[in-house]
């Protein structure tokens, strides 16, 4: 990283200042992360005093062979669809939003930016309830609107549309982050490049293709990575809109809390299967690893082609 500079202050004081943060990071960050792996080989519950033991690979055997294959495949499919759906649409729309709000032709940018960022401030629970209300299948405003075109939907309540609604709500909530990061990336592109382009008589499309997009690409890349990891780990919107029982929206991350903490699952605290939950968390971890590797590989190949 960097060379050690001569400290103006005694070392013990500097270390004493670091200690609280370091202790918490190790005790409640690093150690739990490693322990997830260990607990995945146990049948530990979420209740103190209940005896528990190491059960070898039994949790993994249950994951792969003893649960309903249909449920497992549904969860894996939902995880992939949720991840790709969120990552693709969030980044595509965020790119358009950032371009629009960076345009010289537009007034009131600050206001528009603030409105789109607002859901981040409101949080997941408020966001979930707002959309449950708006997407009320029984004559809610959107139900009425699509009714004009002869369509109808159960939205969060129907197996065929629930996951799409979760993806939409997730994007609506997290869009602000992607937008703001893109805007910062756009503003760091030197205006001289555009001025030079103007002298050469480039069209708007050419400017986008040869200046904006290539220079914004590193930012978009960060955004995509954040969206892939974020959407795979995210379960709050799913939990608060469709609950833990609806298999149509269950993802790996949602299953972790379903087994480990019984949130919305309807069963009592005694059923908290934290060892098995840890197994799901480990599989999710591997899943994230594979997803990011596939993405990185695809990006590299694309960059080599250009």
């Amino acid at each position: 990283m960097q060379q050690t500079a001569k400290a103006s202050f005694p070392k013990w004081a500097l270390l004493a200042g670091i200690l609280p943060a370091l202790f918490l990071q190790v005790a409640l960050g690093l150690i739990p992360s490693v322990m997830t792996f260990i607990l995945s080989f146990t049948d530990i519950s979420g209740v103190k005093g209940v005896p528990w033991k190491f059960i070898g690979l039994a949790n993994y055997r249950e994951f792969f062979f003893q649960q309903s294959t249909r449920d497992l495949l549904a969860v894996l499919k939902n995880t992939v669809v949720f991840c790709i759906g969120v990552t693709f649409f969030q980044n595509l729309i965020a790119l358009f939003i950032a371009l629009a709000l960076n345009s010289k032709l537009i007034k009131g940018k600050g206001f528009f930016r603030s409105v789109i960022f607002l859901p981040v401030v409101l949080g997941v629970l408020v966001t979930s309830y707002i959309w449950m209300n708006t997407l009320n299948p029984m004559e809610g405003p959107i139900a009425k609107l699509i009714g004009l075109f002869g369509l109808q939907s159960g939205f969060f309540a129907s197996a065929s549309s629930a996951l799409a609604c979760c993806i939409f709500t997730q994007i609506w909530w997290a869009m602000g982050y992607s937008m703001v990061i893109n805007l910062a990336g756009l503003q760091s592109i030197p205006s001289e490049l555009y001025e030079a382009g103007e002298i050469d008589g480039t069209s708007s499309w050419q400017k986008f293709k040869y200046i904006t997009f290539p220079l914004l690409w590193p930012t978009i890349n960060v955004n995509i990575m954040l969206a892939i990891i974020g959407s795979l780990q995210s379960y709050q919107i799913i939990l608060f809109t469709t609950g833990g029982r609806n298999m149509a929206t269950q993802t790996l991350a949602a299953r972790v809390v379903f087994f480990a903490f019984n949130i919305n699952s309807g069963s009592g605290a005694g059923a908290m299967r934290q060892g098995y939950g840890a197994t799901w968390a480990m599989i999710l971890f591997v899943f994230i690893l594979i997803a990011t590797l596939i993405y990185q590989r695809a990006v590299k190949r694309r960059e080599e082609m250009l």
Binding site: Q2, T4, A5, A7, S8, F9, A13, L14, I18, A21, L22, L24, Q25, V26, L28, L30, S33, M35, T36, I44, K48, A100, S103, L105, I106, S114, V115, I116, F117, L118, V120, V121, L122, G123, L125, V126, Y129, I130, W131, M132, N133, T134, N136, G140, P141, G176, Y177, V180, I181, A184, S204, T219, Q236, F240, V257, A260, I263, A281, M282, L284
Partner: protein
């Protein structure tokens, strides 16, 4: 300029659609909250015929918001202050390169993003320490010196000349006194931005509140809103009234502080 007009119309149309998608649900939530239950049931998508605040009174009692708002303020104040202080005291020696193990410590904080999720073991640790269903147990997992504040302070401190450190130490000013009287005031813009972002995250926490707290006396405000959970059988008018009461302070705060908030996210995102 003439050739820009179609593009301008296109962009404004796009923004107009976005504004509807972002503002309509909020407006509709407010509209629902001021209607009587009967009025709502008769036509959920209609406009409120007259303004009723009964839902607010009912929801305020049902969600027990008066009791929980104090808890939320307490949790947010304590966790934010502790986290920001930790991040400052962590970022300073690392950014200055005063410690040999600085790189190792920074790595320790950065690597946690790439490790398996530790929610379950963290629960086990706090459970076995007897911290389940306590204020401390709920808060301690939300306190930390890492993440975006660490990265932002790390960069920000590099912009503050080292001469200050040397001058202070030559004048016999101790480390902690120096940090509190000189460094922290110099870092005000960065600290303001990070404190607000941290505070929003803690105020909006609901998962930890569900996992760690069963005693109603300890609930934060979000846990009050969560009593309205369920699919569609809940009373939407009351739920939306509770939602507006939880969201209103956030929206008001946001109107005044949005510049700091968005700047903070930019800083975090760029270095992520």
């Amino acid at each position: 300029m003439k050739r820009h007009i179609p593009l301008k119309i296109l962009i404004y149309t796009f923004i107009a659609i976005l504004m509807i998608v972002y503002m309509f649900p909020l407006f509709y939530a407010f509209n629902t909250s001021i209607r009587t239950k009967l009025d709502y049931m008769a036509n959920p998508s209609g406009l409120a015929k007259s303004i009723h605040f009964e839902n607010y009174v009912e929801a305020f009692k049902k969600a027990n918001l008066s009791a929980y708002v104090g808890n939320s303020l307490f949790y947010t104040a304590v966790c934010t202050t502790a986290s920001i202080l930790m991040a400052v005291f962590l970022a300073f020696p690392l950014s200055r390169g005063y410690l040999k193990i600085g790189g190792l410590i920074m790595g320790l904080f950065l690597i946690s993003m790439f490790l398996p999720d530790g929610t379950i073991p963290q629960f086990q640790i706090l459970l076995h320490l007897g911290l389940y269903d306590t204020r401390l147990g709920y808060m301690i997992g939300m306190i930390g010196g890492g993440g975006t504040p660490l990265l932002m302070f790390y960069v920000y401190i590099k912009g503050i000349p080292r001469d200050f450190d040397e001058a202070a130490s030559i004048d016999g000013c101790g480390y902690f006194r120096y940090m509190f009287t000189i460094m922290i005031p110099l870092m005000k813009p960065a600290i303001a931005s990070m404190a607000i972002i941290t505070a929003i995250g803690i105020w909006n926490d609901i998962i930890r509140a569900i996992i760690y707290l069963s005693n109603k006396k300890l609930y934060p405000i979000t846990r009050g809103l969560y009593v309205f959970r369920g699919q569609y059988q809940v009373d939407m008018t009351q739920q939306m009234a509770a939602l507006i009461m939880v969201a209103a302070p956030l929206i008001i705060m946001y109107v005044f502080l949005q510049r700091y908030i968005i700047d903070g996210v930019v800083a975090g995102g760029i270095k992520a």
